[in-house]
């Protein structure tokens, strides 16, 4: 088996163009399959030496994260948005977080990938590039097509993911059957953007791909606006409204039964988590507005 280990993105793209070998970065998904002999690649493209693809930077109002940025990088970097840092912290163990990458999470495209609901909630876009067709930018929710299916072409590589910088309340919440080292049975990511006065609520592990709970978002947007929550620190949003946010979010989910959880439980978990994060967001917004 041949292993390519380019040190530049251009080199990597050329390899990808020529023979489209299986790509490996942190290996936390691929090596599980290789060790179990479920995957036997005839060639591998190892991206781990392309240092330029790793890191978080800020540029013209956007935050940009290189594809090889690890979950540990995200947890440790102060400039990382809280929703993404919180999700990163739930990924496996320190050993996994030191290797798993944002690009890998995107490329694997599992609806349970922990970084994905935060990226969708941040309104992120993926930059992918090929040797011949250059760069294209795809919103994350459009990049993820189905369970482990993405819009990445065979000659493309993920370069980075980016979103408009935002500093409002952000929440991530994930349910699993034990207190650590779990694949999400259900997860939610909520980003509240004071600049646009909009919320984005993304659901993980409860549909073929990460979904936006649009109806729940609309209700929450209206409730925040009505309560004057964007300006007044004493704004109140009623428990009944939060409960409705939860119920609406649950209707967006299309969960399945599998050995990790039942569809009914997943839908219920989404309802509870959505209601709770919405309530916490209201509290956090109140503190933000009050403290500003």
């Amino acid at each position: 088996m041949e292993v390519f280990q380019p040190t530049s993105l251009e080199e990597a793209l050329e390899v990808r163009r020529r023979s489209s070998p299986v790509v490996v970065a942190g290996g936390t998904d691929l090596m599980v399959a290789v060790n179990a002999r479920r995957e036997r690649p005839s060639a591998l493209l190892d991206l781990s030496r392309i240092g330029r693809l790793r890191g978080i930077r800020h540029d013209t109002g956007r935050t940009l994260v290189g594809a090889l940025t690890t979950f540990s990088d995200l947890v440790r970097t102060p400039g990382c948005p809280p929703v993404l840092a919180a999700a990163s912290r739930t990924v496996g163990s320190p050993q996994i977080r030191n290797r798993g990458t944002v690009g890998g999470n995107l490329a694997t495209g599992s609806p349970a990938g922990d970084a994905l609901p935060p990226l969708v909630a941040l309104g992120a876009e993926v930059s992918v590039r090929s040797a011949t067709r250059g760069t294209r930018t795809i919103p994350v929710h459009a990049f993820l097509l189905g369970p482990k299916r993405t819009a990445l072409a065979d000659d493309e590589l993920i370069v980075e993911v980016s979103w408009p910088a935002t500093d409002g309340p952000q929440l991530f919440s994930k349910v699993g059957p034990r207190n650590a080292m779990v694949i999400a049975v259900a997860s939610v990511a909520l980003v509240v953007d004071p600049r646009t006065r909009r919320c984005r609520l993304a659901l993980g592990a409860v549909a073929p791909t990460v979904v936006r709970a649009a109806a729940a978002e609309a209700l929450l947007n209206d409730a925040l606006a009505e309560a004057g929550a964007w300006e007044q620190p004493a704004a109140e949003v009623g428990d009944d409204v939060l409960a409705d946010v939860g119920r609406l979010a649950a209707t967006t989910a299309e969960p399945i039964d599998d050995h990790r959880g039942t569809a009914g439980y997943r839908r219920h978990a989404v309802e509870v988590l959505s209601r709770r994060v919405a309530g916490w967001a209201v509290d956090d917004l109140r503190a933000l507005v009050g403290g500003a």
Binding site: G27, V32, S93, P94, Q95
Partner: protein
């Protein structure tokens, strides 16, 4: 593929098949069997080693990805003597069958180098990826806390 990797301070030359993991290479080619394989999917932490100063599961690292990098295994963590974590695990009884022990030593030593005074919650989170079936973790926690105190030059009963 033939490549070089520094293991426990020594530069070694390795020839490994394409799909081999760092764990395979350490155990089979470099004859360092202290790093254990128990799940082959990064869930149990028995294969924990340091790669360029960070804890990783060796079973998930493609061997060639370690080329020109720095690897430390359980055989190298003690230096000339034994790391305080190793001493304390013996003293507190935090070893029973011992299969998870090398991985726990590597993960705990890494934690103590980053955080000199970790509280119990921090230790638990740092060891969440090291499964132990024998001890229930209580004496392992005791050992890590005691090792931390040792490293800070305090007495064993702080």
């Amino acid at each position: 593929m033939t490549f070089q990797v520094t293991v426990n301070g020594r530069r070694r030359t390795v020839t490994a098949g394409g799909a081999a993991s760092l764990l395979d290479v350490l155990r089979d080619d470099l004859h360092l069997p202290g790093t254990k394989g128990a799940c082959e999917e990064g869930e149990c932490g028995s294969c924990t080693v340091w790669l360029d100063g960070e804890v990783v599961c060796a079973c998930l690292v493609l061997a060639v990805q370690a080329a020109d990098r720095d690897v430390v295994t359980i055989e190298g963590i003690g230096g000339d003597g034994r790391h305080p974590v190793q001493e304390e695990l013996i003293r507190t009884g935090g070893i029973q069958c011992g299969f998870c022990t090398p991985g726990i030593v590597m993960a705990a030593a890494d934690l103590l180098h980053r955080d000199a005074e970790p509280d119990e919650d921090v230790i638990r989170e740092a060891l969440a990826g090291n499964l132990c079936r024998c001890t229930g973790y209580t004496k392992v926690l005791d050992a890590v806390q005691a090792a931390g105190r040792r490293m800070r030059g305090q007495g064993l009963d702080a």
